[in-house]
Amino acid sequence: MTVKTGRRDFLKGLIGGLVVGGAVGVAGSEIYRSMIAPPPPPVKEEIPTSPLKAGIQAYLTGGGALWGKPMMQGAVLAIEEINEHGGILGRKINYVVKSETGPEETVREYRTMVLDEKIDFYVGLISSSNTPAVGPVAEELQTLTFFVDGCTDFLFEKAVPNPRFCFRITNIQSADGVSAAVGAIKLLNLMEKDKVRIAHIHPDYAYGRNAHAHMQITFEKVLGRDRVEVVYEAFPGLFKVTDFTPYITEIIASKPDVLASSLWGADVVNFYKQALGYGLFEKMKFVSCIAHAASPAEAVKDFPDGHIAGVHANYFFLYPEWTRYPVNKAFVEKYYRRWGTYPDSPSEGAYVAVYMYKNAVERAYEILGKWPEVDDIIKTLEGMTIYGPAGPIHVRAGTPNKHQCYKDGIVGISKYDPTYGFSILTNPITIPISKITVPEGWEGTPDPKAGTLAYSWISQTWREGELPV
């Protein structure tokens, strides 16, 4: 007898086969996928809904207000933005603002913020007298603390050598003087001169002395000690002198090629306005490591063109260029819309501090599945790099200078820009921060007179007559 496979049977078989095969295929690939796929995230613990509290401390009065106010504004902008987008993992941030003054009172206010206001984290401080005072207290009271400035090397090299709770956003102070000197050498082609006569004027306190020492040693190392001659040095008291004319005449009389200065705030404004009347800027090149760093609309309204403009090795609102780097463009626009002025170094620093906290909390939450403890946040911060308006910024995890943040600095040439109505920084040179600061793992001791590791590192490791960047 003949078995005839009818068309119908064939079709039945085919369809059946396809169905079964399809099912097996789908099921099999799912099983396969689940074998190689990561496990589903752990069940997330409930996040508290109570708001967070941030403590902000800034100079609201006196010569330092040119820095303190923008600092506070940067932090507040960040907090408002975050709140607009729902807060950190749904938790809004409330904040309290206190005044920064002398070390004793500043510490007292800090204590009040921690003990009575019960802040969750802290963003603040401009003065290098205050960070070494508040640092140990922050460690003692176990509060996550982001210093925006107060960049003295002393903080993490002597006052708090093994920080747990303190972090510092701004580049370390020694980088300020070094980058200004390097920038000056490059932009003014000082390597081509036979002899360079240098005069110095710095405010008489830790920052000024630090800037002086590091600018000087950079000039000596890179140009060679026999090429450099110091013709005059002066250290007027910080915010104590309103009449710089005696200094100005002495400086002019000593006929330098370059005047190196770390005068800032009200001092640099007074100085340059008075110096204009004496024609100082036609007789030498002024190298300011910090004049353009804060409140440029007030501080450098009619700053003379063609001199070296420094931003405390930090940020100037035009760079990184907006077309290339949208993060900066967005920040500048939002800041201008909120405050009516352009952001500067302290604004950017405070803004980044708040976002650093947010980033760390969110990352830690992703891994742990619950709202992170302070130590989890700290561990997440260490070694982290985030992209702030000034560019990438890295938190050092190792020593020396643990918990110090690092970002590339810029130095440029001053030029009045009518669109803005004040002097801006042009022809920027980026100074790679890794080339001018003590790297992780370097072992050495701070220089006894200058007081910093950076000074020792430069004296011992840089070769004379050579630019390190």
Partner: protein, 332 residues
């Protein structure tokens, strides 16, 4: 009891010591409610010593000094140097060191300065205080300049306090200072009521007559100056341990202004005044700090006090007690 209060309120040692003891008892309660205020009380007691010392000069010897921050600075920097160069954290040695350094420096300075009175004395003290301040500032590689000298927690009787939590540590500090304050206040009371103290008052009231009686005006003033300096520098040393950082600000002339103001606030004319003043001042300052316009308030208060109640709070309290006791008596 009320009669005793009424008669000798201002100058009775028992009332003064009682006041300090009351604060000491209230402290732990206050601290639990608000640690920030507990720290404020700590400041208050620490400064009692300096103010008592200041008032010896001001009220009993008749010399107003606008430069007493000088000695606060000496006390503080002695502690700073002792730690920085000798590694010493023992609070007993700190105190001994400040007593010695302030005595020596006060002798040298007083030698010259005590010849002058009134405005010149005030200005001279201001000028000398400013010199020291500018030296602390300038010689930054010794003094740390504005970075200051960081001082770790003190050790007491050789026992280190490094590993304690902040609250326990602060309690120990507070009671240590209270104990020292009680002792020093009592000693000052003995000084003020001794023949030496009487001689000082005689000089204050009428210098010429005092000389006629045979009092060596110059020597008496010098001794008062030195004692005042020692007291003030002890506060400086204690404050250095409280803040754990020694900076030039403690020697700046605005700190001298605080000393003067607090003494007036409490009532410089009576013995208990400076004690009251220190406590009230630090409490007000804590409030006003939140206010931002602190100087406005302080200036305003100074003027009000001088015009309306020159005897300060002590006088205010005394008048209230008198009025109160009169009411009670009328009711009897």
């Amino acid at each position: 009891m009320v009669r005793m209060l009424r008669r000798a309120f201002g100058d009775d040692i028992r009332v003064t010591l009682l006041l300090i003891i009351i604060i000491a008892i209230a402290y732990p309660v206050v601290y639990v409610v608000s640690p920030g205020w507990g720290v404020v009380l700590g400041h208050g007691i620490t400064w009692v010593i300096a103010l008592i010392g200041f008032n010896l000069l001001f009220n009993y010897a008749g010399l107003l000094s606008f430069g007493h921050a000088l000695f606060l600075g000496i006390g503080a920097y002695t502690v700073g140097f002792m730690y920085k160069y000798l590694g010493i954290t023992n609070v007993e040695l700190h105190l001994l060191g400040s007593i010695l350094s302030s005595a020596v420096i006060a002798f040298i300075i007083g030698f010259v300065v005590v010849k002058y009175t009134r405005i010149f004395f005030a200005i001279l003290m201001l000028a000398i205080a400013q010199i020291f301040w500018s030296l602390y500032y300038k010689f930054y590689w010794i003094t740390g300049g504005t970075d200051g000298i960081k001082v770790p927690r003190f050790s007491i009787l050789g026992i280190s306090l490094e590993n304690l939590d902040f609250t326990s540590y602060h309690h120990i500090y507070f009671y240590l200072v209270t104990g020292i304050a009680l002792v020093l206040v009592y000693i000052m009371w003995r000084i003020v009521n001794s023949p030496f103290g009487l001689a000082l008052k005689a000089i204050r009231d009428n210098e010429t007559r005092a000389r006629f009686i045979g009092i060596n005006v110059y020597k008496m003033r010098l001794y008062a100056f030195i004692i005042s300096a020692i007291y003030t520098s002890i506060t400086g040393a204690l404050a250095a341990n409280h803040h754990r950082l020694v900076t030039p600000d403690i020697a700046y002339w605005t700190t001298s202004g605080k000393v003067v103001f607090a003494a007036l606030l409490g009532g410089a004319k009576v013995f208990i005044g400076p004690v009251l003043g220190s406590l009230i001042y630090h409490i007000i300052e804590s409030f006003a700090m939140r206010f931002i316009y602190w100087q406005l308030i302080m200036g305003f208060f100074i003027i009000i006090i001088i015009i309306v109640m020159p005897g300060g709070f002590a006088q205010l309290i005394k008048t209230s007690i008198e009025r109160g006791s009169r009411l009670i008596r009328r009711g009897e």
